[in-house]
Amino acid sequence: MLNILKALNNCPSISGREHSISNKIMGYIAPLTDKVYEDAMGNLIAVKCGSAEDKKKIMLCAHMDEIGFMVTHIEESGMIRVTTIGGINFVSACFSYVVSERGVKGVLVPNAGVPAAEIKAENVYIDIGAKDKKEAEKKVKLGDFFVAEPSVEKIGKRICGRPMDDRIGCVALIKIAEKLSETECKNDVYFCFSVQEEVGIRGSLTAAFAIAADYGIAFDVTATGDTPGSKPMECSIGGGAAIKIKDSSVICDKLVVDKMIELAKENDIKYQCEILLAGGTDTASMQRAGAGAHAGAISIPTRYIHSNVEMIDSGDVNACVDLAVAFVQNV
């Protein structure tokens, strides 16, 4: 798992620029499934055909994109101005190493004298060590993107780095495909690696429309209530797969939630229920696209989401994979 995670984290791909991660995932998922294709928006969809006579269509979805910065302007001084893509946490982003899609390294810094609480896209810049605009333009073009430097570290029993959101969900999907490839699969399973989730759940909407699944299950990170000062929330890392009941974008299908809890108990899979107060997921679009689907999510509890040190527990990821496999084989 760690190797796949490292490989995926090392493919910087902000929303709308998922080419690199998509290619990488293709290499893992193609041998495990029957058909792989990319749609107009760039969603990568792999299909594993089921054998049951009354088989259903199940869409499993994790987003490939990550938050980051897009270059809007290069100043005479060679400093690079950017806009944000997705919800940036500037406390974490500032004074950090960033890297561009072309591999250009830089540091993201706020204008001098800006109070921490007022830092925003308009008053930060990226310094790539260029002496002037001309030199900077050789390395960076308008529309290029930068992300905070990717990383994966083992910290105690946990795994830490970025972007866990949502590469760890993509890893889970690949692991599910691995497990399903070892047995006979009952239902048709559509593995959807979606685009543009971080800018408002855009990609999975069109994929879900085209797939028209009976069930849609998202795999994404969720916040936890187990750190100092965190909002009260009954979800912790190491607490098992988080069965989503609700987030700010969706109220999960009761049928799906109940079935997941039942299967977790039956199969001795460690689980917890999740009610995420702020944040949306691809669950929402799968529920509403086309004629709608029974939608739910299995979340990976994650500390410090949208920072450079997102932290997860590998036991939780394994529980998510086991629960997903039980679900697609028993629904």
């Binding site: 308008l142 529309g143 909407l205 069109t206 429309f209």
Partner: protein, 358 residues
């Protein structure tokens, strides 16, 4: 004044009455301009005009034709009558986003294209205003529109609640050789004019199009993008070129180095608040502009939204790109645009489609 630029069509469109929800009259005019150059057209239930030009020739795949949508919006910002007072003044609500400061003291045309009741947005003379009043713009809901009626019943004899209005503004050309265009509603009508002229050039040159091209003249863009979604769901295109305008901040911006400039050509966006545009198509477009010597600029900010919001995410998804003509003083009675940019926009779209780069 010389008219080198072929902007008569923009002028006619600019002066038409068509606030969001009441575009019928603009639609009618557009149909009169295109019915002999397209293969088919219709007006859908949302009020969009959709015209189709079929592909042909060697590059055209007749079995599975590629569908390209080109769209622009017909509607303009305006006002809606929401009440009358006993002295015959009219109370209004904005349709679309209008700065109250550009509305105050302006002439309006109320009713519809035929009725054309003149109204003046009342303003208090500067020397009558208290120091506090001078600091703040009068909010639109507090404005009075004077239609020369002395009582409520006199006013109601002319107009009704729910009637709409737009800026009264004649189109004109100004600057050296009449290069610059001034008028209302230029933000949507310049792209509409460009689409009409592109259709004419396709027809006149009898050009074999490599794909089926659907020209969608859409409604209600100033209030939401839902009519645009309807058009996209009807057409189900493979790709869409979304034509719109972009505020040219060169005259008023605080950060001129980042502003889109009038006369610097078509503005191409990588992303805005509504959509991240398809990268490959956007890069192809830039390449094509370079090859075809079409003047373009990159929009260096990500403000604003276009109909791409709903086209990109319609049905199974659509690849979208955004081309915008720079316009100064948008959503006012006097939008200003450069005829050269209009020509660039036409050439750009023409080239992209005929070169099969979309």
């Amino acid at each position: 004044m010389k008219k080198y630029y072929g902007t008569e069509l923009v002028g006619k469109l600019s002066e038409l009455f068509g606030p969001s929800g009441c575009e019928g009259n603009v639609a009618e005019f557009i149909i009169s301009q295109i019915d002999d150059c397209c293969d088919a057209y219709c007006t859908d239930r949302a009020g969009n005009v959709i015209a189709k030009m079929c592909g042909s020739g060697l590059e055209y795949n007749a079995a599975e034709p590629r569908k390209v949508m080109v769209c622009a919006h017909m509607d303009e910002v305006g006002v809606m009558i929401r009440d009358f007072d006993e002295d015959g003044y009219i109370k209004i609500a904005p349709i679309g986003s209008i700065d109250p400061r550009v509305l105050c003291g302006r002439n309006l045309v109320l009713g519809d294209e035929d009725k054309r009741i003149e109204g003046i947005v009342a303003s208090k003379a500067i020397h009558m205003q208290s120091p506090e009043e001078r600091k703040h713009a009068t909010p639109i809901y507090k404005m009075n529109v004077d239609i020369g009626a002395n009582t409520e019943s006199e006013a109601r004899a002319e107009l009704d609640i729910g009637d709409v209005g737009v800026f009264a503004s004649n189109f004109s050309l100004f600057g050296k050789d009449g290069r610059y265009m001034k008028g209302k509603a230029l933000d949507g009508r310049i792209p509409c004019a460009a689409m009409i002229e592109i259709m004419r050039s396709f027809r006149e040159s009898a050009k074999a199009l490599p794909c089926d091209v659907y020209f969608a003249f859409t409604c209600c863009e100033e209030t939401s993008f839902s009519a645009t979604r309807v058009a996209a769901q009807t057409i189900k295109p493979d790709a869409a070129i979304v034509l719109d305008s972009v505020e040219a901040g060169d005259a008023v911006s605080g950060e001129p180095s980042c502003a889109v400039k009038l006369g610097e050509g078509v503005a191409i966006s990588f992303a805005d608040r509504g959509a991240i545009y398809d990268r490959r198509l956007t890069e192809l477009a830039i390449q094509e502009a370079e090859n075809g010597n079409v003047k373009y600029q990159i929009k260096k900010t990500t403000s604003g939204k276009t109909g791409a919001v709903n086209i990109q995410r319609a049905c199974e998804g659509v690849k979208v790109i955004s081309l915008a003509v720079p316009v100064r003083y948008m959503h006012s009675a006097s939008c200003v645009a450069d005829s050269e940019d209009y020509i660039s926009l036409k050439n750009f779209v023409y080239t992209m489609i005929t070169a099969n780069k979309i």
